[in-house]
Amino acid sequence: MEVLKEKVEEEEAAEREAEAEQAARKAAAEKEESILDRDDLIDLEQKLSEIEVHIPEVPSSIDTSALPESYKTNTAQEKQLLKVADNFAHQYSHLCPDREPLFLHPLNECDVPKFVSTTIRPTLMPYPELYNWDTCADFVSDFLTMVPLPSPIQLVRPEYLFSPTSVLKYQKGNCFDFSNLLCSMLIGSGYDAYCVSGYASQDICLMDLTREVCPLLRKPEEAASQKEKVVPKRYTIKPPKDLRSKFELAQKAKKEAEIAAQEEKKRKEEENKLLELDKPPPDPMHGLRIHAWVLVLCGKREVPESFFIDPFTAHSYGTTDEHFLGIESIWNHKNYWINMQDCWNGCKDLIFDLGDPVRWEFMLFGTDKPYLTMADQEEEEEAADEDDIEILDKEEDKNFDMPLSWVEQIYISAKDFESRCPQGRKVIQYKQCKLEKWAPYLNGNGLVTRLTIYENADCRKVVEVKEWYENREDFLEMRRVDKTTHLTTEYFKPGHFLALREHTYKTMAPETDRSMEFYYDTRVDGLEKRTETPNSMTEYYKDRADYLVYRHVDYGIRLKKFSLNSPDTNPRPMLKITERFDRNLSKLADDDVAERIFVVSDERIQLRYHCRDDYITTSKREFLKRNDVDNKGNKIIMTPDMCVTYEVEPREHTKKLLFQYEMMMNLKNEEKISKHQVWESELEVLEILKTREEEEDTHNLTVSIYDTTRNEKSKGQREALERQAQEEHMRQVEAELDYLAPFLVQLPPGEKLTRWQALRLKDECLNDFKQRLIDKANLIQTRFEKETQELQKKQQWYQENQVTMTLEDEESYLTYCSQAMFRIRILEQRLNRHKELAPQKYLALEEKLYKDPRLIEYLKVFV
């Protein structure tokens, strides 16, 4: 604080300057305002009304009854801390009277003042996803709903700052709540993070993203392609001489350059215009809007450079970003620092060396931040040591550590973590697009994200809709609908049984424009892509044993058939099949077919071979399939003119008719096979379309076997297990019924047993048990007697009425007799057994009583 005093004069001078500047600026603003026309005024009013709509949550709306004691009271240490803080604030306001009061000890949800540093509760989350700063920030921004500050430009008294646990519970908060929670999480995972209280631009303060490009649309920056400099080798041939006029060329180049420059200029102008449009309207409260955000300093967790995180949007900014206009103070769970640097140029010139007491005034002395390292430190080391000691002596009474946080440990349930947003749904408006997010399994069709892109900023006309899915049984990952071309593209993850990767279509009807891409390595035929138009089909293959890479089919117009007209029975006629092959290195180039065209309509087959390494022409062959009859009526099998050949290097055996004949026969066969394959492809397309439609209708979601809450089967199993365990537990409790309880109750509670009492207790217990055993025996006997009496009565009655009895009555009598006899016998057995066991039970109880922990010390002597 001494440093503070020393600093005062300079500071005041600076402050005065700043004041003057501010006054000038204000005047300018006023001037501007007076120039503002009606529209702007209305706009302003609208904006203001928007801002003022939100009334801050009154703490009474939060249920404080269930909160622990630490929330409602302050410990002695905390009270002392508050005193220190008050003192600190006092000095500060005295020294810097024109600066805003500090955000030091706002009230918590129980209306108890708490120091801000103790509200930070560093907690490491149990979810590995929340270990890094970006995911943490994403979670906080998704999980909480933003509530604007009661006043955008000044802190309203009394200030409130709720504990992170309450914020998490009610899932809403202002920028301080956001920063507080995020800071707690970041410090917990080891970052050197601080809450920052300061000033930011309107967009940031109001979480207005409409001028931001959606992160999903940002294109990854293309790595600048490095052009390899071709070093001319010693024997590289010289280019042929250029015989054109050099002067003309130069003139031409000049002209072209001029035109290009003009175009460039035009383009730039247009760009500038667009940029102008994008710029936000001037904010009358620019630089005054209060905001809180998070600062992460470099050093820990391999953070190479300090940066800000805006907790509302989870975006990170450099510390020199123009959105952040000033810093009042920063704090973490250990200390509180005031910024003593001038913020006339936003945060651009700030230096985040918290050990420098000139730039950052600390509140508690025991900071573990290293002091500023000075060049002449070594010389002054001794002096500094003495100083240190002095300071230590002086501040000994004031120097105490920050008390531990009063907040309970932050806890996020797995369910909350999964659903993320309040009610599992969140909508963000970006520049020219809208982003909607849902928790997984919230939508029946697995939809988790939808991005709607509009034509321009007024968001009326939809250009494109992108939808992301999760946990779909058909492995659908993303669907993109282009509203201008009406093309739908579906992207699939690997694993679908049809190996589909991408499917682009307008309608699901067969024989229309569509393109399907496949995971070719999982398909037996190596198909990579198949595109269709109404009269053609093209297929691309990869890694096939027969080196086929391409097949193109041209279809003709379907012949009309009146009987049946389904595509199965009346296929489109194939006009031409073109197949291309890769080079098969085990064959000679002259024997390796590169392209094969079956012109079905013309009965021609064209072959083009691969090109030899040092040649520029390729061998070709064309067969005409003519089944003519010569003038004698014999069938012509093969004539030389049926095969037109060009060979790069004429060879002996290929001239032979036999060779050509065999080749033609082979090709005829191949043609059949190719046709069949094309037909199969058509069938496959139909099948895929059918399957897709079915899947789209049912859209089942898959559940991981590790997901215990959703997996019905495992849930049932677990519940059964739990029930079993509970029953087991009940039984055990029953078994351990306390036999001494009824007697202990009679004794006065809370007093120690005397020996006499213990003895009596034992006797009473034993007596009671004896009585019980006797009672039980008596009970069995009475029942036995009753039963025998009844039987005798019945027998008497039977003997009396035996003569007049019907057969049925006799029957019933006999059954009764046998049953009664059975009962009597059982009772007799039970009685005997009881007699046998009773003494044993009695002895057992006695022994148990001797060993009972409550009585043992009194009874031991007598044993």
Binding site: Y235, I237, I616, T617, M638, L658
Partner: protein
């Protein structure tokens, strides 16, 4: 083997027989008709069957160069010969004949399946070159020595062996022995060898097999070592400095020099020799190292040249391919137009246009080729100059080093002479009291003899050094002129070939166009 048909005259393989067989076994039906029209060339025949022909001698099969499969079973062949030209043979069946020894198979290196079933063979050998052999049937023969099976270990691909019906099979250990010694065998006597037999066999002959394998490995290692040595020497030879590392040349100087050996008995000469040797060897080593470095430089230069040449050629080829591709697209369209045009005038106009296009294409392609030839010529000349320069400097430097050798020799000679004369003087004065062998002492009868002897030794040495130098220089010059010649002829051939190709292609296009003309007129 007892034959019923012994009385019938043995048959001779003549043209008639072969023609008949080829026709019978050739293509059938429609293809057969086509084949008949044309006649079948023996060269094209892939498989031939000559069974039950009572053939005594294999003969007249030299025309069947491309034969893959030959069946000569059930004849009365007594010797295997006349198969030397059938290099492509994969399958040879000589079963049911009267063959007594295996022979004449040395050229059939592609043979995979050989059947000698039911013959009179008593020993398996003379098949060393058949490394691809997979199936070998030699059942019903007279093989009686079990150890002969070990001979088959040299066929790494052998999977099926039939030995049934030989005397050797009566041996009770026969199966175990064969499975143990031929570990890769899968079928024996057309039966799958089960794991049990294999184990039993292995257990029984474990040690002898280990020994055998050990010996085989040693042989293999020795061979490889030799190969490595030879490769190293080849490398040195390519640098023209073979045997210059170490004392080889020095030893060579003294190998034929009887006088020097005698003179070595003189006092002080061994020491002199020793220093001479170290100096000489170090210079040789210098030459050797320098040679290797130069060789590397030369190869790098040649590689660089070929790389650039390859680039130029491939660029040119791409250009040509592109041009032709573009042309063909246009051409096909044009031909289509001509086919579909119905007015004669239009057809004529289009035809002439097409012909013009073709000649234009010819011009373009030829221009490219001429350009390339000019560019390459310059490049090649450049290369020639550089490589000759390089060889020149190499030769100069080597000559310098060799001169050092000669100086050393001269120096040594002088010293030796001095010692000799001193010794002579001593002997003459009878002051020399050391023992010398008689023939050495004989040298010192008078001054002339001594000087002659020393001089002869010196002359021999100088001659040898000169010879080595000459050898090196001629070799390197030969290489130089060889490579330059090769580059020139290659370029010449390439140019001829390309021009021929272009002409051929243009002719083909022209022909096509003309034929189209004919067809239309006929229609």
């Amino acid at each position: 083997m007892i034959r019923l048909y012994d009385t019938i005259e043995p048959n001779v393989i003549d043209e008639e027989l072969l023609k008949l067989a080829v026709e019978e076994q050739g293509p059938q039906e429609e293809a057969g008709q086509v084949a008949k029209q044309e006649g079948i060339n023996f060269k094209d025949v892939r498989s031939l069957q000559l069974d039950f022909q009572n053939i005594l001698r294999i003969d007249n099969l030299w025309q069947f160069e491309n034969l893959r499969k030959l069946q000569l079973d059930n004849n009365i062949i007594e010797r295997i010969d006349g198969l030397d030209s059938l290099v492509n043979l994969v399958w040879l069946d000589l079963s049911f004949n009267n063959i007594e020894t295996i022979e004449g198979l040395d050229n059939l290196i592609n043979l995979e399946d050989l059947s000698l079933f039911s013959n009179r063979i008593s020993k398996m050998d003379a098949m060393d070159t058949l490394v691809k052999l997979q199936v070998f049937s030699i059942g019903n023969n007279m093989i009686d020595n079990l150890l002969n099976v070990i001979y088959l270990r040299r066929f790494p691909e052998l999977r099926s062996l039939n030995l049934a019906g030989n005397p050797v099979c009566e041996n009770e250990d026969y199966k175990l022995f064969v499975t143990a010694y031929l570990g890769d065998l899968v079928y024996l006597d057309f039966r799958l060898i089960d794991a049990h037999t294999r184990e039993a066999g292995f257990a029984k002959y474990q040690y002898s097999i280990y020994e055998l394998k050990h010996r085989e490995n040693q042989m293999q290692n020795k061979l490889e070592e030799e190969k490595a040595n030879i490769a190293e020497l080849e490398k040195h030879k390519a640098a023209y400095v073979e045997y210059l590392n170490g004392s080889y040349l020095f030893d060579n100087l003294y190998s034929d020099d009887t006088e020097a050996a005698k003179l070595a008995y003189l006092p002080g000469v061994p020491e002199l020799l020793e220093t001479y040797k170290t100096k000489f060897v170090s210079i040789c080593q210098n030459i050797f190292d320098y040679g290797l470095i130069q060789q590397e430089k030369r190869t790098a230069e040649v590689d660089l040249f070929y790389e650039c040449l390859g680039e130029a050629l491939s660029d040119n080829r791409d250009l040509g391919l592109k041009t032709i591709n573009e042309f063909e697209k246009k051409h096909v369209k044009m031909l289509h137009d001509i086919r579909n045009a119905n007015e004669l005038q239009v057809v004529d106009a289009k035809m002439s246009e097409c012909a013009e296009e073709i000649s234009h294409l010819f011009d373009i392609l030829m221009t490219y080729e001429m350009q390339l030839v000019e560019q390459l010529e310059e490049s090649i000349n450049n290369f020639e100059r550089n490589i000759i320069d390089m060889v020149g400097t190499f030769v100069e430097n080597v000559q310098g080093l060799m001169a050092q050798c000669r100086d050393l020799e001269n120096h040594h000679h002088e010293k030796l002479l001095e010692i000799s004369i001193n010794t002579l003087e001593k002997i003459v004065k009878s002051e020399f009291d050391e023992d010398l062998p008689d023939d050495v002492r004989a040298l010192f009868s008078d001054k002339d003899t001594v000087v002659n002897a020393v001089g002869a030794s010196h002359d021999i040495h100088l001659l040898k050094i000169d010879n080595r130098e000459d050898e090196l220089i001629t070799n390197v010059s030969n290489w130089c002129s060889g490579i330059v010649d090769k580059v020139h002829t290659d370029e010449h051939n390439r140019n001829r070939k390309r021009v021929k190709e272009i002409n051929q292609y243009i002719d083909h296009l022209q022909n096509e166009l003309d034929n189209l003309d004919f067809g239309d007129l006929l229609d």
